[in-house]
């Protein structure tokens, strides 16, 4: 196979797209995974607690 400009461009474009779709899927799975719900809920309210010093 001759690797010329067109091949590189073609490769970049097609695999770039697959990568995009795959990445999107993984992020969605993570975001909507049921057991993550609770930790997200904790995370968003916990910053509102008073915090004057580190927890040890």
């Amino acid at each position: 196979m001759i690797v010329d400009h067109d091949t590189v461009v073609h490769f970049a474009k097609s695999w770039g797209l697959f990568y995009l779709i795959g990445f999107f899927a993984v992020v969605c799975v993570y975001t909507f995974w049921p057991s993550n719900r609770q930790r997200f809920r904790d995370a968003k309210s916990k910053i509102l607690e008073r915090d004057d010093k580190p927890c040890r």
Partner: protein, 549 residues
């Protein structure tokens, strides 16, 4: 401040300063009459000032045995001060630059003061000086609070903050002397770039170690943005600044990238500097200080995760929209355009998320100028990302590129988003840090808010007008099919807008000066013991959760 360090640490701080100063001395000697030598001298002076400070506190009593029981806020406090100082400097230069376009004689016939040399002092002053210091200061604050652990290291946070400011100082003094690589937002020469790499790696390590020690199971989303900001800026900085100096005793270097590649690398850098410096980092601020001030959790945590990955992924593709219709290959231009339009989705998701967080608390927004700063910032963020996606469409860009429309877009983002969210965050942070019930003068916060809004609107509208008018004039044809206006005709049409922009900028600068004064007075005001906040207390049950790891 020095009292927070042990005797050993004070000594090593001095050792470090001497080491850096010696490097400066070496530069001063071998540099001859090149600006390289002048920069050596600046490094020595910089180290001397800090060393004097360390020595003045050298005999202070040593800190309590266990510093891990308290957060490390000294670097944040100093960072806030430096940030405001750079804001006033950078915006003053902005007003001067703006005035020179209206009245060119304001360069006073100097070489150092001519437009081309002081324009980068403005951009570096505001983006890296003001924005960068604010980011370092707030990221140090947020990562400790959300991880519930003290910042890693005692000297390294100082090294990050002060080393970074040395970089900014070298950059800005360099431009006055004509030291520049000409790459927008990456103008500093090779030695300053190398120094920044050292500083930035330290920043990364401090941040990462703090996160790794956290007492919370989950990394709060604000830290994601700060982390993306740190990591990606490092990659961008290194790739774009690869250069060969003409010798190791001179400041001049040549970038290794030729022509078209250089254009693509530069705008890949330039656009992502916008994305990860001016957007991601400030979104980090938003996701912490906005909920904090509104006393409401973020509307949807999941949405914030989705938009985080969307922004991190999409932005990287968009750089080529700076090069539409140029000699860059066509397909790269189209790719950049496509991703720029898609970028609107995660951008508006963030903006919507923030606004919905405020939904139901509009009375607070009405009464509290600090919260209003943040809300206005979100609105401008939504506006400038919409505008950006629109300008990235090729036919639109054929009109907007090279004109003041770009400058209008830049400042809708820079003044409206970056500066407003920073002021809002600082007004939230400052009273908490110095343990005051509120800012020294809420009335001055209110005044600052209106000055900033007025300044931004005047600036942005002036530039939209001038940009679109000029773009249209350039392409207007007469009946006979020849170009209707000479270049100078189109220039003459710009003057009223250049004057208006100067006025708008001056208002914004005035607001920043008032803000600095207010912050200074809040910090300086005699200590008023308020609640029991500042005394260490027994661990509350909420804090005594199972540690992570």
């Amino acid at each position: 401040m020095i009292a927070q360090l042990t005797l050993n640490e004070r000594t090593s701080a001095l050792g470090l300063l001497i080491l850096v100063a010696l490097t400066g001395a070496l530069m001063a000697v071998i540099g001859g009459d090149d600006p390289f030598a002048a920069h050596g001298v600046i490094i020595i002076l910089f180290c001397a000032v800090i060393a004097a400070f360390v020595i003045s506190g050298f005999d202070a009593p040593e800190p309590r045995i266990d510093r891990q029981d308290s957060y490390y806020d000294d670097p944040t406090k100093v960072g806030i001060g430096l940030s405001m100082a750079w804001a006033v400097f950078g915006m003053f230069m902005g007003v001067w630059v703006a005035a020179q376009l209206a009245w060119p004689d304001l360069a006073f016939d100097g070489a150092w003061s001519s437009f081309g040399r002081i324009r980068p002092t403005h951009t570096t002053g505001v983006i890296f000086g003001f924005g960068g210091n604010a980011l370092i200061a707030t990221s140090f604050h947020v990562v400790q609070r959300t991880s519930r652990v003290r910042l890693a290291g005692q000297i390294s946070p100082w090294f990050v903050l002060l080393g970074y400011n040395l970089f900014c100082l070298l950059a800005v003094t360099g431009y006055f002397m004509g030291v520049t690589q000409s790459k927008e937002y990456a103008e500093p020469e090779w030695y300053a770039d190398l120094w920044l790499v050292v500083v930035w790696v330290t920043y990364f390590v401090v941040f990462l170690r703090t996160l790794a020690r956290r007492r919370e199971p989950h990394i709060y989303v604000a830290n994601w943005y700060f982390m993306a900001f740190i990591v990606v800026v490092a990659i961008l900085h290194i790739v774009n600044n690869l250069a060969v100096p003409i010798s190791f005793t001179q400041s001049k270097s040549y970038t290794i990238w030729p022509g078209v590649q250089d254009a693509m690398v530069q705008w890949w850098y330039g656009h992502n500097a916008v994305a990860f410096f001016l957007t991601a980092g400030f979104l980090g601020m938003l996701y912490y200080y906005l909920p904090k001030r509104a006393e409401r959790p973020i509307f949807s945590y999941r949405l914030s995760i989705l938009s985080f990955w969307g922004i991190t992924f999409f932005y990287m593709w968009a750089g080529s929209h700076h090069l539409h219709y140029t000699a860059l290959p066509h397909w790269v231009q189209n790719l950049g355009m496509t991703f720029s339009v898609m970028l609107l989705v995660p951008s508006w998701a963030s903006a919507g998320n923030a606004l919905l967080t405020l939904n139901g608390a509009w009375d607070k927004v009405r009464d509290d100028a600090t919260l209003r700063f943040m809300m206005a910032a979100v609105v401008f963020y939504g506006l400038s990302t919409f505008e950006g996606s629109f300008m990235a469409i090729r036919p639109v860009n054929s009109l907007s590129h090279y004109t003041d429309w770009t400058v209008g877009h830049v400042h809708a983002g820079a003044l409206g988003w970056v500066a407003l969210i920073t002021f809002g965050s600082l007004y939230t942070l400052v009273p908490a840090l110095w343990k005051r019930p509120q800012m020294y003068s809420p009335a001055l916060v209110e005044a600052h808010f209106w000055l900033a809004i007025a300044g931004t609107l005047i600036y942005v509208f002036a530039m939209w007008n001038s940009g679109i008018i000029q773009g249209l004039m350039w392409r207007t044809y007469t009946e006979e099919g020849s170009l209707a206006y000479s270049f100078v005709d189109t220039l003459v049409a710009m003057y009223p807008y250049y004057i208006a922009r100067t006025v708008g900028g001056a208002l914004f600068l005035l607001g920043a000066i008032i803000g600095s004064y207010n912050i200074w007075m809040t910090a300086k005001r005699p200590f008023m013991p308020a609640a029991t906040d500042d005394v260490p207390q027994a661990l509350s049950p909420a804090h005594a959760r199972v540690p992570a790891e």
